[in-house]
Amino acid sequence: MSSSASYKFKIELNLDTKISVVNINGSDCGIFDITNNFAQISKLVIGTTDAAILTVTPTRVSLYSNYLVNENFNGFNRRNTIRLENNRNHVDADWRWSRQF
């Protein structure tokens, strides 16, 4: 990661299978277990440790439950056009670009 940059996170938590899927800036970072020892999720916290000196600037936070597809192609201020050229910058978040039809 860069010391100063803007990041887009998509974190999916499946509370039934206790699995999380992490995606940063459109890149699939992997699948991780979440702890088994919880009854529910009731809080989202973004913060810093005592020792840290840094700045966090959240610009958008959306958290939704049980939407399988929820995409307006405008969310991250990218152009919502998909062109037939080798350019991955025109689709949103974690969509996969493919020309192999």
């Binding site: 938590l13 299978t17 991780f32 809080k43």
Partner: protein, 325 residues
């Protein structure tokens, strides 16, 4: 002499090939394992410690065989809950699970098909207590044993322990009552606690679509009034720091205290939750975190540490990982 040297080289080459093949194969196997998890429910009262010699185990066999693949100890002296979660990581294949606990009917789940990276969650496994003599049935013979345990001296501690169904360290009418309970008495392993696993689609629990909803929908955090009002902003140890109050910049300016923003949610216990967020990080190679909590218990936590995003330690196992530490 030359022949001997050639023989040595050939042997060395073969050894290297075997090592490389074995290493590659085991690495491949590690990547393709699936997860099987579930919760075993005993008749012990919550808060009562498990009794040594009666600890429950899960034994995993190749399906239809007696080839033992894995044994998981479910309980120990410190176990004080009646519900005991377990997780097994298994190579691709079909398995039979035997959940065994002394004084209970075996619970058998057959034909669990593990696929690559699958996550199978078994229905709750409620063990049936009362099979004191281990004949795979809860019947009058077990009642007789339970009654006789009243009169046994300490020389027969093992039998008294077996008859102590609720594991309260005493042989009382409560134990007999459990055996006589119509939910248990007359039950057999063959008829009541042997099931064939029926996978759901894609081996995942179905996701409920009954109640889809936004939990947070703050498309812009950059209001002139600072962080959106639904968030609790905690900078109490940096009292002269007013960032976050007038803008959405949250500056942690102290190396001795922290800052956080917190959002209480409608509690979620099932289904799929998806967070989409965008944030700018400045000088945040280490020390920033984002976490989901169950009250004070951290369920998921991503941090920055040494210039990397990391998933923190309470995450027990990485199933697959790409470009992340």
């Amino acid at each position: 002499m030359k022949y001997g040297s050639l023989k040595k080289s050939a042997f060395f080459l073969i050894a290297i090939c075997i090592f490389v093949f074995t290493f590659s194969f085991s690495a491949l196997g590690a990547d393709s394992r699936g997860k099987v998890s579930g919760t075993v429910i005993t008749a012990r009262n919550d808060g009562t410690a498990a009794v040594s010699g009666k600890f429950a185990t899960v034994k995993i066999y190749l399906a239809g065989t007696q080839t033992l693949q894995n044994t998981i100890a479910l309980e120990g002296a410190e176990t004080v809950t009646k519900n005991i979660p377990f997780t097994a990581y298994l190579d691709i294949g079909a398995y039979d699970l035997y959940i065994k606990k002394s004084g209970y009917l075996d619970y058998v789940v057959k034909n669990i098909s593990v696929k690559s990276n699958s996550a199978i969650v078994l229905p709750n496994i409620e063990l049936i207590p009362g099979d004191l003599n281990g004949d795979a049935a809860v019947n009058t013979s077990d009642l007789v044993i339970s009654l006789r345990a009243f009169d046994l001296s300490s020389a027969f501690d093992f039998l008294r322990s077996i008859a102590d169904v609720n594991e309260d360290k005493n042989n009382t009418v409560s134990d007999i009552g459990i055996i006589k309970n119509s939910n248990y008495f007359g039950k057999t392993t063959a008829a009541n606690t042997t099931i064939n696993y029926v996978p759901s689609f894609d081996s995942r629990s179905p996701v409920s679509l009954a109640d889809p909803r936004y939990l947070i929908d703050d498309l812009s955090m950059a209001l002139s009034g600072g962080i959106q009002s639904g968030w609790d902003y905690d900078n109490r140890d940096q009292i002269y720091n007013t960032t976050g109050i007038t803008t959405n910049d949250i500056d942690d300016v102290s190396s001795e205290s922290h800052i956080l923003i917190k959002r209480e949610l409608t509690p979620q216990s099932t289904g799929n939750m998806v967070l989409e967020t965008q944030m700018s990080l400045n000088q945040a190679q280490s020390g920033m975190y984002l976490k989901f909590c169950d009250n004070d218990t951290t369920v998921f936590e991503m941090i920055t540490d040494g210039g990397f995003f990391k998933i923190k330690k309470q995450i027990r196992r990485v199933i697959s990982q790409r470009g992340m530490r």
